[in-house]
Amino acid sequence: MNANTPIPGNSALGQPMDRVDGRLKVTGQARYAGEYPEDGLLHGSVVSSTIASGRVVRIDASQALAVPGVIAFIDHTNRPHIASYDEDYQDADAAEGSPFRPFYNDRVLYSGQPLALVVADTLELARHAGSLVRIEYETESHQTDLSIGQSDAHTAPAETPKPRGDFSGAFAQAAVTVDSHYSTPNEHHNPMEPHASTVFYKADGSLEIHDKTQGTQNCQDYLHSVFGLEKEKIRILAAFVGGAFGSGLRPQYQLPLAVMAALKLQRSVRLTLTRQQMFTFGYRPQTLQHMRLGASKDGKLMAIAHDAIGQTSRFEDFAEHVVEWSGMLYQCDNVQLSYKLAPLDVYTPLDMRAPGAASGMVALECAMDELAIAAGIDPVQLRIANFAESNGNEGKPYSSKELLACYEQGAERFGWSKRNPEPRSMRQGRQLVGWGMAGGVWEAMQMPASAKASIDSSGKITVSSATTDIGTGTYTVMTQIAAEAAGVSPQDVTFVLGDSSLPTSPLQGGSFTVSSVGTAVQQACRALRAKLLDAVRMAHPQYAVVDMADVGYGDGYLLIDDQRFAYADIVRESSHETLEVQIDAKPDEKREGYSTATHSAVFVEVLVDEDLGTIRVNRVVDAVAAGRVVNSKTARSQILGGVVWGIGQALQEESQTDHTLGRFMNHSLAEYHIPVNADIGEIDVLFVEENDSIVNDLGSKGVGEIGIVGVASAIANAIYHATGKRVREFPITLDKVL
């Protein structure tokens, strides 16, 4: 089917094409889940628990119901029927265990748990009435403190690689060792757009739902099993998503609650969470990590042990890849990894950008810096000396790994060779200057995905898949991939997504959308091109047996000998209004012999005020190896966003818990700090050339996660270089360097 003889000229792939949805977004025409209007639409407001553990004795809604304009009050005693079995609540990203069931019974499992819903004519009335609901509890003791809960930790259900070699023996014999503890805090995703669901109740009882999600079909399946509704009667739409970062991977509670209200009232209902309620579901879990490295005098790693404890809820075991990286990034024969979970009276954590890697790589890459100092070796040279050609966890070679080029080109761009290795040796006036670096790694996964492509008699191509665009640029890159594969200009392609009725797509996450959906789009468009050729063969007997490989294509034409066949003409001459194909794409079998991963090298300059401790990240160079870059502009934006988040992770972000109350307390964007423009200096992103014919036909690995990985470590390492202080508890706020 491959017709790999494109007419030379403009390839859509790799171009810095503007976002196809950019105009809609900046002109306010892009509608988000909580913005779809309908006459008579009702509004819900969630009433949340104020205790961390116990049960609801009584809910008094009389004052709320007395407010004119309040339509209904729903809690666990009067909700519509919902499923009884755990498996009915287990979505495509569920953690192991018993998923949270909103309004299931009187149990309170965490502070902030939704306990009741007020439905009213307007949002303001619903929220006011919600504030009048009085809940009486029977309070039980709770524990939200990981430093105490860690003593009850159990091994995570995470298939952590088995030990290899003899860590203890090798560590004992190592000439240079590092033995350090690190901690990373809880963090909440805080996308700009709060979670919202608008449920349109149709005349036939079916539900058309605009939801903030990273998986329309995941939500459809969830509602199907939780409410026992026919799938055909549930359509989930997510045309635009205002950031998600993982927070939309699982169906969030506003969705089933809005559906409950719609079903109970047989009316359309919208439920939008408040910013405070954005702190009442999944988050990046706090970790406590112990890192031991042993090396020879010349810095060759002889022993690595990485032990991590993460927090989870009492009802689910949320596991992420925290320690795996320590067994795969560097060459080392004696490796021992462990990963435990400590259950607390909190909600279950959730994947957040580079889940596991963003926290686990903090320990590995800070420890590598400590090792470099202990061994008296330059941190870049230390990493080069320990470069791994193959993934030690899997015993497989990497399909490609241009990490050495990342080190080299990143160091060159940054000016690393001018670094004086001595801490506190560089300064600008009152500012101590620190240069630090770290490496980054993320898996390059691919999931099964489907896509449909059709062409009409004007030569316009429509390609669709149920995936979403959470701001990453999916609309745009899929348009480019489709244009390239079909042989048309991007202007002639429309990509449709965010609709559960479209061809099957995996959740949008894990940096695998380009790899998974992109491959499906590519294959669908190639198939469409083959179908166009079939139509030519039918219509022009002289070409009935022309071989695909002998057919050129591009600019909306097939080229056979000197004959040009415009796609529009081919469709017009066929007996169909449109030609259409749908394909199911799977990861290629050739991947199985390889490990596939993206890599990066991050170089950072910090300025630390020597008296006041204020820290500024003045300059970042991030050199990334992610295979082929589909759109150099949106890919750069992904890395920029990741680096900015890495700066927040290093210096600012932390969901702070009052353990007496068992509650997150800084639940606003005033007090939950993320970087503002003024915090951000120069960020230089460079993509090193990496050819990969194994990972997928696009040769593209995805860039959603890799931008954040390593940034926090590089900053911590730079702070050490500036101040001589090694801070191992994140975030590194100024009080820790005073």
Partner: protein
Amino acid sequence: MNPFSYSKPSDVTQAVNLASPASRFIAGGTNLLDLMKENIARPEHLIDITGLPLKDVRPTDSGGLMIGALVSNADLAWHPLIERDYPLLSQAILAGASPQLRNMASTGGNLLQRTRCYYFYDSTVPCNKREPGTGCPAKEGLNRIHAILGASDACVATHPSDMCVALAALEARVHVQGRAGARVIEFADFHRLPGDAPQRDNQLGDDELITAVELPAPRFQQHSHYLKIRDRASYAFALISVAAAVELDGDVIRDVRIALGGVAHKPWRDTAVEQSLKGQPVSRENFVAAADAMLRDAQPLAHNAFKIKLARRAIVRALSDATLGGTV
């Protein structure tokens, strides 16, 4: 947010006549609206004062300036007379909030900002300031951002304003009008320490409206500096801030004002320390001694001991920057 009625009077007398314990004046609303959305402020009646004629900055007979209560924070910070004669005030205002907020926020409203204590801002947990008698979880809880000076058993909250720290150093006066008439409150007396009534941030009566803030004749325009230390470069409340204003006679300190933000329930001054610096030469040793003296009675909580060290260093830095461009 609870339902409320709304009126928009056109003169000050009308406005104060509408006022009651259940009403609130609203100007920019940059803090009050947040408090209402969080169910912390639940006024039954809002009196929109944006129609009142309180928008001028005009010179006073004593050589100072009278700033109308409705002058926006942005207009005030960029006002040519403020920039020229009171650069300390300009710097302090621009160190606060964001451009959007400063465009909306008023001079009078800035004085009435409420604390950013996490517990005050969460209506589901106890807080003596929000609901007197319920307790103060911050004392034993998350108190990294809380007070080190002047706190009480009932409350360890800090005042969040930057502008007020500069106004305290400049010894501004607050003009207010109530039903009983007008009065003038010295800035040092305007805000309260929490004591056993932390619900009261200031001395205003329920019917009293701030009409103007008066600045005395400028004396410190040559040697002043506002230093704000926070967890990010913008849009964060001060961990520590220092308004330093010095009048020099050669290298001898003729007069000095030091006000601290982020340390107490109100902008913090210590006139005895200021007095002790008068007549002393500009020197790092003198600044360090003053800083030590200002923090002598500081009481740390579990998470904010760093503020004492930071405040000391910040005072020295601010005085140094104010006097000799940071060379001592």
